[in-house]
Subunit: 330 residues, 6 copies
């Protein structure tokens, strides 16, 4: 049981202590990216995961890999190349001030990745699952082609393929619309995380509610077995609620809704959810358990600095069991 996650990892730079960028004399360092975050969540749960990416062979690229290795992710499959590691600036909001992200990811190794560079057959040798997200095909046309290649080989070799739709409106700059690219990619997937608006943008499927949208999506993509979604009510930068949904083609399962106050870091909550979902599906857990575990993972993530979900399965289960933080663990 080994999950291959494929995508871009970036340096994340944030002013400490909720400072604004102009005030910062130092920037806190994290490394993250949607698919890398999934790999870390899986490794924290004790699952075997590997991250496939393309980073420059310098101290910045190597540091991003070191951080993944530290948390148990296999990075031995990395392609070195490209001239820079993409990065993003994050001003962490509080109360009535939103968090603010400024991307600086042009020209990274993933943007210039091309079909044929990565030997997917060898990478998938011991693997059972392949995970990608809608960010990679949004970076460049050649990256979209490389993604398609990976999905096709994964299908050929019998891996389960999952996708987080992850729409970023500031990407998709290379002249193709998502609806020209994404349907073909989703065709090889059996697990999808997404919401109604993104499904509309990617696949031009509409409906009067998300349940209907999911059902139409199942029809359009016969290989799909599971559609998951997360929902938050966002009162303030530091106070949200969080819950999850999972449709198995037949039934829509909902998790309890978590109150999420005193948020430390909401970046990566969806990736944590995805990691929880893959972890549960791999173990053939019942759908209700899957959605509860995934939602608790996503909710717990809000209390952890970094893009990564750094908590064990036991800690997730502790929250599922009702300890919403009030009981000191000794």
């Amino acid at each position: 049981m080994k999950v291959i996650c494929f995508g871009e990892i970036m340096l994340r730079l944030s002013p400490p202590n909720n400072l604004r960028m102009a005030q910062a004399r130092s920037l806190d360092v994290q490394y993250g990216g949607s698919e890398a975050n999934v790999a870390v969540a899986l490794a924290q749960f004790g699952a075997e995961s590997a991250f496939v990416t393309r980073v420059p062979d310098n101290v910045v690229g190597r540091s991003s890999l070191g951080e993944l290795k530290k948390y148990g992710v296999d990075t031995s499959l990395t392609q070195f190349g490209g001239s820079r590691l993409g990065l993003y600036y994050l001003e962490v909001g509080a109360g009535n001030r939103s968090s603010k992200v400024v991307y600086d990811r042009e020209g990274s190794g993933m943007a210039t990745l091309q079909k044929g560079i990565i030997d997917w057959r060898s990478i998938f040798k011991d693997a059972t699952w392949f995970h990608w997200s809608g960010i990679t095909p949004a970076i460049s046309e050649s990256a979209a082609e490389a993604t398609l290649e990976a999905i096709e080989v994964a299908n050929e070799l019998g891996l389960t393929v999952s996708c987080d739709l992850n729409y970023r409106s500031n990407l998709w700059q290379y002249g193709k619309k998502p609806s020209q690219i994404m349907p073909q990619l989703l065709r090889g997937c059996s697990v999808m995380l997404g919401d109604g608006d993104t499904i509309d943008t990617y696949f031009e499927i509409k409906g009067s509610n998300y349940k209907e949208v999911f059902e139409k999506t199942f029809e359009a993509f016969p290989k799909l077995k599971y559609i998951a979604m997360t929902a938050r009510r966002a009162f303030h930068a530091t106070h949200n609620t969080y819950k999850g949904f999972l449709h198995n083609g037949t039934t829509l399962f909902e998790s309890k809704e978590y109150d999420v106050p005193d948020i430390i870091d909401r970046i990566g909550a969806g990736d944590a959810f995805m990691g929880g979902l893959i972890y549960c599906l791999q173990k053939n857990a019942p759908p209700q358990y899957c959605v509860e575990f995934s939602a608790a993972t996503g909710a717990l993530k809000h209390s952890i600095h970094s893009d990564f979900h750094l908590a064990t399965a036991a800690e997730v289960e502790n929250l599922m069991g009702g300890n919403t933080g009030g009981k000191v663990s000794r």
Copy 2:
């Protein structure tokens, strides 16, 4: 359109991370003062502002000016003099513990400022607005005289004059009561920020509610065109509500009330409000817009470390438009 703000700037020293003074091995450095804060808010909104003050010509005085310049305030009109920069210690509270301020501002350059030292005619050359606050006349009798001089010249040259009443009970130590000094100063002003209690202390005007007090104040000071006020409900050090009022002589306008949780720094919220108000009035915005923009500025300020309001007009409008922090800006 250039606003001249006149007052004292101080070094602010706070233990980091909500520590108490006795625990601190370092103190966070900010610079601030009511009128300087107004100047910064205006500059952040893209308005032209200058700050007139008197600071010692040493590394501490010069650093206070550098911080203003960084945020776009013109400090070229500074008078150098006096032997020390005033300062204040701030223990930042949380939950049930109040924030605590200890002033150490005696003997600063502003305290020994005298009428005739500053060439107001030259300073006001390109300016359209003059802003001062009730702190300066509270420091020393000579500073009160210098303030009066400035107001008179400003009136002569046709500038709009605004005042934040800003009562500090631990000042006014030089043998005069506010009611002996302030009426004369307010006479030259057309915009005032204050509340009922301070109006009583300064002008001995009472009323059964603030609307009535405002109306009597308009009567007593015929030049006055606008009276503004802010109100907060303060549940805890880190949780308040915030709203604003603006009376234009005819009608009392109220802003929406903001819930303000997870407060980072409430110092300077009133100054941010004042900056928002001058910014809107200068642009002849309608009163309801003025009070909404000013209140949103004050509410947003609570999420920003420092005395200064470091956010753009677009960010204020984002909050006015209903994004109370919950939506990440990408």
Copy 3:
């Protein structure tokens, strides 16, 4: 009026800014322990207090004493000995993530303390009160014997003796159950802080509610004059409520319940309560005042980094008087 507190002091190491242990490149340093915390609270209130312990004569042991001296506790009665200072790791939780404590206290100076080493007669010379907690007899059988010795001498010399039951399930490893040790120790005490579950564990006294349990305890231990208890509702790691109870053998007094949001550090809240209680009882304050003051101390403690309650009696009274943090103190 001098209070002798007896127990173990530990180095406390926590990742800064709510980080997890694996993320930490530095650990914040505090020193604390239940009985030392009581001594500090008393000293902050202006009462005379001394702390009796056994620490190694090295830079770590001596640093723990320096921190106590800084806050006004007399440490001149310290026994030097043992090879290490016990320590504990604390991951500070937030929102839905619980705080997590990992103890590393085996082999400390207190664990190898033996009856006869400490000259209690000389230590108690100027003292009027002796305080200990259920942690010391839980460490080792010889430490339990040393505690009994101290209680007996204190009784002989007419000191008031107080005890915080303080059950730690991960201690009591030396082959005796609490119920074999604690009854004999409590016999010499007139003030006790504890809750129903611990009373059951230590003294095998059960009841249908805590009032009944307290009454049975008064019966079983005739020397007891006061039983106190604290109660919290713990919604999240950073949001609790807090209140206190005090039974004087006749009547059960309850404090108001405090809302405790935006918690900075809840470790030591019970010790702060205990310090408040001893402070009030020493001054013969009325029971209702005692429980209100103690509960406000405990509630206020949540806003202070460190095991120690670093706030004055005036600050506690400010909270009792209704300023739940919202009013800046200038």
Copy 4:
């Protein structure tokens, strides 16, 4: 007397306390670039300086300008544009470990700058001096063209033009060799900072020693009046010596050689030297004074964190006068 400096400003990110990149959990923030550094040095000396550049209109680009304004540089002439602020990573060495720079500056606003975008006539209106360096023409062909345009207008308007040759071997990637571009640019300059190797690379002028090289350069570029050079002996990352040379076409002047131990930050030393030189030449100081002042500025820079030379002319003169740091200034 106003100096216009033209070039690129970058975000500089360095691990604190000499850590290696892989160890860093935060990166210290500075902003710098050869020509911006010159502008800051001039402003610190009390000279009027402005910096002309092209940065993106986002929080990162604006923060770089704020830092320049703080230190007195006029940034009102900035062109906003481009999608990212270039940056560089700096591992600060010590002892036997070299400092290490990794550039990440592709795609910045300066790289896409084109001739005709900047209105040089308006920029040069009040100015007397124009400074540029060999970095700008190395970035892109269009940036080289924009530089030529600026030099031509400056000459037309009678400004003195200075150039720091500043060879960066990892630039010049756009298909032209320096020797195809630089001669034409230098033709309009009267002050040049450079060394023999760079003169060879740029102008294909060789000689048996630098004096001879300088003389041949004067011959080749008749407008040139001054050639300056710095020299260091670099024993370790934290221990160098530093001295300067200045040839006025007739005579070669040499400064004293400074021992430079316990180096804090050697980045920007050459720019500090250049700032000192422009400052002195503007004041028509004698050549020996010019080279002594410039060399002392460069030597002093090694003791200051950041790319910027943050010290006054009085502090430079203090070092020139023989106080090599040993006397505390009170």
Copy 5:
């Protein structure tokens, strides 16, 4: 054997990591003052010491006392009064950049101290030694009178009196010259630390070398038994040499000269020397040992952050014995 040290304690604020004041976003906190530093050195050596001063009764004044208590100094004799704690800013130099001190001590509690406020008889009850320095009489005339009063009572009660001449040219602003005040004060002293220039300034005693000056001083002040002096060669801010001299009226003893590279903090080195000297003289150690121990203390102080000498007598002896830092202590 208890030493009473009398003087002013100040808050010391320094930018971290050798930053300049304008760069600092936080300031490192230390507390210090010449006589307090002596008290701390003595306490670290295991001697009993107390510090007598006058500070305001607020969180800043109390924090300064807490720091002294932490290091073992008795502060129970403090007078509370005055409105502010004096402070000084310290930019810590390196290499060719000098450290820079900016005092801000006007209006402190010591400046307004008056004769008769302090009950010296009660303070000196258990004491054997009284130490003061030339800073206190330089602050104000009333402080000079209070110092004289203390010296007279100390003499009457048979205490040994020591003085560090400690000339500060920026003090002595109250209209008296040192030579009008100091002779009378020195008359009651038997141990003095000073150098030739200060002896000239204070007592108008000149000589062709310091030995001769010392001999004339012994003649002029018959009660004097010891004159000590320190000498440094200051190559750079971070590299000095250090040695000490002690004249016992008969013979001049010299210590070895220490090479002092990689200086962390030279502030307080003279006070450390003084503390070492009192410690040795109190124990009647031979003069050569006294001067060696004192010089090693002063040399070692350069390696310790803070005004305080935080090292044990054993650590000083380790340096005296030849371990100049190269041998790790395990």
Copy 6:
């Protein structure tokens, strides 16, 4: 080519910025141990290395493994057990103040390790080299037995075995002298790092110089092929020299001697040397190259925070080639 390193890893806690323990409000976190340090150096050079140890299964033990994984060491062979991770406190000296280490390692997982717990046959499956040090047999008799077991299996399976003698006088507390344990262990080794004094302590071999001692050691232990030694002259805590020696049974090779100023961290220099030596010997490099590479590694280590040698082989070769830090790498 895979090297198995076996030993204890500890948490290392040091006050930041050369503070003393009593001053520290936080402690910098590193993890290290002689054999783990060797494994990291090898991984940084690109060699395959694994670390075998026994740590508790809690956040502290797991964090120590994370740090090793980050730097490329295989930790999948770890035994979980024991109740605590050993630790040590390090006060980092400077100038004339020595660094100071306080160990707190009793009761760790390695101390209670026993023969038979580790399946050496499986661990050595793909390995070619086994490295241990004299620290493990010094911890407890059972750890010594486990070491012997490992050496015997390694010999049986044909691995090269290396040993760093690493004498710690504060260990060896379990009733056996080194000379009763170490000879038997060394018998199975072919590479040894040690010095004359330790050879005497362990094997009772004496000689008039180290060359003679080495020759006698070769005689006594016929399996030995290489004896290496390092030598430093330690002028101050922050200034040493460093060189290496290597005897191949026939000839004694010496490296150049490095001047090592401005030391950041000398802990682990010997382990870095050992890592360099194994790396070179594995590649069958000539002895002179081996000793030069190893000495340069050890010298370079002094410039790197942490126990670990975090530099590549290319960086070591850069130093060997004469760049002693003075040339910035761009």
